[in-house]
């Protein structure tokens, strides 16, 4: 009797759709909050959100982030306000994808995306530079650095409406 029960289960699953995904051709949709490889975001106007404050590096428990800042000018502007990140590097071998950098960022410049296929054949390749991390400007927005009208982008932190 038991053997019939057993085979019944087997036949039932034989007719079901298989759960195995043919990775990497097929991929499961990601949870929106999945923490993958980082992105440095831009504003809609194409300026970089990152102001080089190094708070992500301070928050990083794995000491994976290296930031060096420099001063913006209206002739050569990267981000709004006075300060931008001249160097921005993340060592992906060190990173534990905890997302603390995201939490620490005052301008929401750094966000963890969904790319997770990070493998390297050389340790040096694991260091992602600013050029690799930063998004391309959306639509027709101009990239950085660029010349802007003086006196327009004076503030590093965008004006925040009061939370009521």
């Amino acid at each position: 009797m038991n053997i019939i029960k057993g085979f019944a289960t087997t036949f039932k699953h034989l007719l079901e759709e298989p759960v195995t995904l043919q990775y990497p051709e097929q991929m499961k949709p990601f949870n929106p909050r999945y923490k993958g490889r980082h992105h440095l975001r831009r504003y809609e106007n194409g300026l970089e959100k990152c102001i080089g404050c190094s708070l992500c590096a301070a928050a990083c428990p794995a000491d994976a982030i290296w930031v060096e800042a420099a001063e913006n000018t209206d002739e050569e502007r990267y981000s709004p306000g006075e300060r931008y990140a001249k160097t921005y590097e993340i060592n992906m071998l060190r990173c534990i994808f905890c997302g603390y950098c995201e939490d620490a960022c005052p301008t929401q410049a750094i966000e963890l995306g969904h790319e997770h296929q990070l493998s390297f054949t050389d340790r040096r390749d694991a260091i992602f530079t600013k050029e690799m991390l930063i998004d391309t400007p959306v639509g027709k927005a101009e990239g950085t650095p660029r010349q802007v009208e003086p006196g327009v982008y004076t503030r590093s932190i965008p004006d925040m409406p009061d939370a009521k």
Binding site: I51, E68, A70, E82, K86, T154, I157
Partner: protein, 838 residues
């Protein structure tokens, strides 16, 4: 001592102490402050330090405290909160610092200060070591009731000068910077403009923020309103590694902290990001001059000498250290004892010791100093300021004489501290052949509402020794006041003097001190602004200016020029350097001296190595390695040790510490000066650098050592007798010529200062200052280009007219791209009429 009660507990505190200081020291109770600073007069502007204050009630008839039902003294509390910083402790004072009333008040003050503060801490150079940030976290409200868009939007990038930026939004109007410039420095160049919410800091000098101490305002600024251009966005404070060091530029030996961080532009190596003061109340308190703060860029300059170089024909070609040592040893052996050494003032004791050993091993004692202008270092060792001297202790009843020195330009830290001594009541006499900045203070009768006393003496160029020698007959009133002072310090320089003149002046000054009994005790004695950070070290190691004169007159076969630049300083250098067969230079930069070198060997700067300097007050101080070496540079002592090994003299020591250990055993003056002894620290007042940055500013507490002061022979009880003074011939101009008076400028075009590009706008173009009558005679207008001829040389500079003595032309050194005289010299000046490139 008086008894006060803080938060219900009794404490004994010094009578008359400031309540904030007393609470901190006695009770460990950190009353929060913004505008109060322990080094300045309280003003009670920020209201952050408010506390509940009460006095014990005293019965008017019995004069006894009134007791309540429990037998405790009855306290009368003041109806409103009081600012603690404006209170002096009095017996029976009761203070409450932790009540709800006080806490609410503090919260309100913070909320008020934040109404228009931009909160851009992420991009602020102060963020992370900011008193406002810290106190907001400790005492502030969690949120704000103010509407964000109502915040004032002001200019965030106002250069107050070339070195300091003002962020108008961040300023909380505490006036610490204004008061620092006014009270402490005496250069009253900052001010408040407008009132209320429009109030802003402005500079009222041209050029802006014209002072040698501007950087200190960024340390004491309790917010990020004032930041330096040098450190602008250089790093976040928590990312920096602090390395204790000593300023390599002047005789004050200011204690500094080198903040280093790795840098991509420097190939991922550690570099100095900023220089901060390190507290040493004996030397520089918590201040440093702008040259100390901004003059560090030479340590990473691309122009440095990076490889050992060997002469091949007309050029120097790189070679290996091994090759150099072998060749040098050959040359030295061939020269026998015909070897001499000239060492500059910025070289360390370890280097000097190895050089001395090398020369001694070859049978030579010809050890000279560069520049050979300042005599009398031996007298500083005999009757210098006594052990335990602290210029901060000079005050009422004391006197200071500054003669033949422009301290503002030579040792700005001493000028700052002596000006403050005058503020405290000391009698300040400034004697010079021309006007100096310190003279302005000496002529004042009243400053900041307080009477000050001083006098000035003007003499003809070169007559400093005569004036000092005959002070009692020429200026009896001044001499009497000086001799009758409780403590007397004489600072004697060498401006306008030949070496003989300088020696005579030092002897005359020493005689004055000995005869009035002002030697052998703390805060009494002789000081000299010897050039370089280690002028006294040169003396203790046996290097003398007389030897240099001898070397110049009788060039040896082999000359080692150690961190000195005779080619840059001496117009006659070509004549005597080219007579030397083999010149070996230990240099930071390829310069006009290395033109004559057979071997040009790269040495490490102070930031790349360990070492010690002896400052003008004979304090041996130690500095530590902050960054990696440039190129193949080695510490000078290691290079010399390599030569000694190749000569078969001795095996090299393993470290600078081992060299110093040997020095402390072999040189009596350095007994008890091992690296371990030099690293000792003790608690100092005021406490700075702790968690309560709001109290003292961002000067660092001293973790690297306070140093050890070498005792004078007078301290040891051997007061030398008054010696004869041989008055030298006064330098005179030839008929129809002018006397060129070399002077020192703090900001110059020397190799170690040139790489500090930031300060370039403040470095004056080469100039000569003339007397009005002389200029008229020569037909020279201010701004004209003139050609100055001295000896066989000429130099072109711009002329200025500035009330110099008649027949004298002030020609500052190290400004022109050519060597100008370093001793008073006769010369002719003529206007250049053909068109010149500006």
């Amino acid at each position: 001592m008086v008894k006060i009660v803080i938060d219900g507990k009794d404490y004994e505190v010094p009578a008359g102490a400031n309540l904030v200081d007393a609470a901190k020291n006695a009770a460990g109770n950190d009353i929060p402050v913004f505008c109060y600073h322990p080094k300045m007069e309280p003003v009670g502007m920020c209201r952050m330090c408010i506390v509940e204050l009460g006095m014990e009630e005293i019965d008017r008839e019995t004069k006894q405290p009134v007791l309540d039902d429990k037998g405790q003294p009855k306290v009368r509390w003041m109806p409103k909160l009081q600012t603690a910083c404006t209170q002096k402790v009095t017996p029976g004072m009761h203070v409450r610092t932790a009540t709800k009333l006080v806490e609410d008040a503090r919260q309100n003050v913070i909320e008020f200060l934040l109404t228009s503060h931009p909160l851009d801490c992420p991009i602020c150079d102060k963020g992370g070591e900011c008193p406002l940030q810290n106190l907001t976290m400790a005492h502030g409200p969690g949120g704000s009731r103010m509407v964000f868009n109502d915040k004032l939007k002001l200019d965030k990038h106002v250069p107050l000068g070339d070195l300091i930026y003002l962020d108008e939004e961040r300023c909380i109007q505490c006036a610490r910077c204004v008061r620092f410039q006014d009270e402490i420095v005496g250069d009253d160049v900052l001010a408040f403009h407008e009132r209320g919410r429009s109030l802003q800091i402005i500079t009222n000098s041209d050029p802006g923020f014209d002072t040698y101490f501007s950087g200190n305002t960024t340390d004491i600024c309790p917010v990020g309103a004032l930041t330096t251009a040098d450190f602008r966005f250089g790093a976040r404070p928590w990312e920096l590694t602090e390395v204790p060091s000593i300023c390599p530029h002047d005789a004050a030996g200011s204690n500094i902290s080198l903040s280093t961080r790795l840098d991509r532009d420097a190939g991922g190596k550690a570099v100095i990001k900023r220089v901060m003061p390190r507290q040493n109340e004996y030397v520089n308190e918590i201040w440093i001059s702008d040259k100390t703060r901004f003059g560090h860029h030479f340590t990473r300059s691309e122009d440095r000498l990076l490889h050992p170089m060997l002469r091949r024909g007309d050029t120097l070609a790189p070679t290996t250290w091994k090759d150099v040592f072998a060749r040098v040893a050959g040359d030295l052996k061939a020269a026998g004892s015909d070897v001499a050494v000239i060492a500059g003032g910025a070289i360390t004791n370890e280097d000097l010791w190895e050089l001395k050993q090398l020369a001694a091993g070859l049978g030579s004692e010809r050890l000279g100093t560069w520049t050979p202008t300042y005599g009398g270092a031996d007298l500083v060792a005999k009757v210098g300021v006594g052990k335990g001297t602290n210029l901060k202790d000079l005050g009422k009843g004391d006197a200071v004489l500054v003669i033949a020195s422009d301290l503002e330009e030579e040792v700005p830290m001493w000028r700052l501290r002596l000006k403050q001594a005058q503020d405290r009541g000391a009698y300040l006499v400034v004697a010079n052949a021309r006007h100096t900045r310190l003279e302005d203070f000496a002529t004042q009768k009243e400053r900041n509402g307080k009477p000050v006393s001083g006098a000035t003496i003007r003499y003809n160029v070169g007559e400093a020794a005569h004036v000092m020698h005959e002070l009692k007959t020429r200026y009896p009133e001044i001499a009497e006041k000086l001799a009758g002072a409780t403590n007397l310090v004489i600072v004697a320089g060498a401006e306008g003097l030949t070496l003989d003149g300088s020696k005579a002046l030092m002897q005359a000054a020493a005689n004055f001190l000995i005869s009035s009994g002002h030697v052998g005790k703390a805060n009494n004695g002789l000081m000299s602004p010897l050039p370089g950070a280690n002028g006294m070290g040169l003396h203790y190691m046996g290097f003398t200016p007389e030897n240099t004169q001898h070397i110049m007159a009788n060039p040896p076969k082999v000359l080692i020029v150690a961190q000195a630049e005779p080619g840059e300083d001496d117009p006659t250098a070509a004549a005597w350097l080219s007579k030397v067969e083999t010149v070996i230079t230990l240099s930071l930069f390829p310069d006009k001296t290395t033109h004559y070198a057979t071997y040009a060997l790269p040495i490490q700067s102070f930031a790349e190595r360990d070492g010690t300097f002896v400052n003008g007050e004979r304090r041996v101080q130690r500095f530590y390695t902050a960054q990696g070496p440039m190129g193949e540079a080695l510490p000078a002592w290691k290079i010399v040790a390599g030569m000694r090994e190749a000569l078969g003299q001795a095996k090299p020591k393993v470290s600078a510490a081992a060299v110093m250990l040997e020095i402390s055993n072999k040189v009596p003056a350095f007994a008890g000066c091992t690296y371990k002894d030099l690293a000792k620290v003790e608690k100092q007042f005021p406490d700075v650098g702790g968690a309560d940055l709001y109290y003292g500013g961002t000067a660092y507490d001293n973790k690297g050592g306070l140093g050890v002061q070498i005792a004078t022979s007078a301290d040891a009880g051997e007061t030398p007798a008054v010696a004869d003074v041989t008055l030298p011939a006064v330098p005179k101009a030839k008929d129809g010529e002018l006397l060129l008076l070399p002077t020192t400028r703090l900001y110059n075009r020397s190799h170690v200062f040139k790489p500090s590009v930031l300060v370039h706008p403040r470095v004056l173009l080469p100039y000569v200052e003339l007397n009005e009558a002389d200029a008229h005679k020569l037909g020279v207008q201010p701004g004209d280009v003139v050609e100055i001829a001295f000896g066989d040389d000429t130099v072109r500079v711009r002329a200025g007219i500035n009330g110099t003595p008649a027949g004298v032309a002030v020609l500052p050194r190290e400004l022109a791209d050519k060597a100008t005289p370093f001793l008073p010299t006769s010369g002719t000046i003529k206007k250049v009429t053909e068109p010149v490139l500006a």
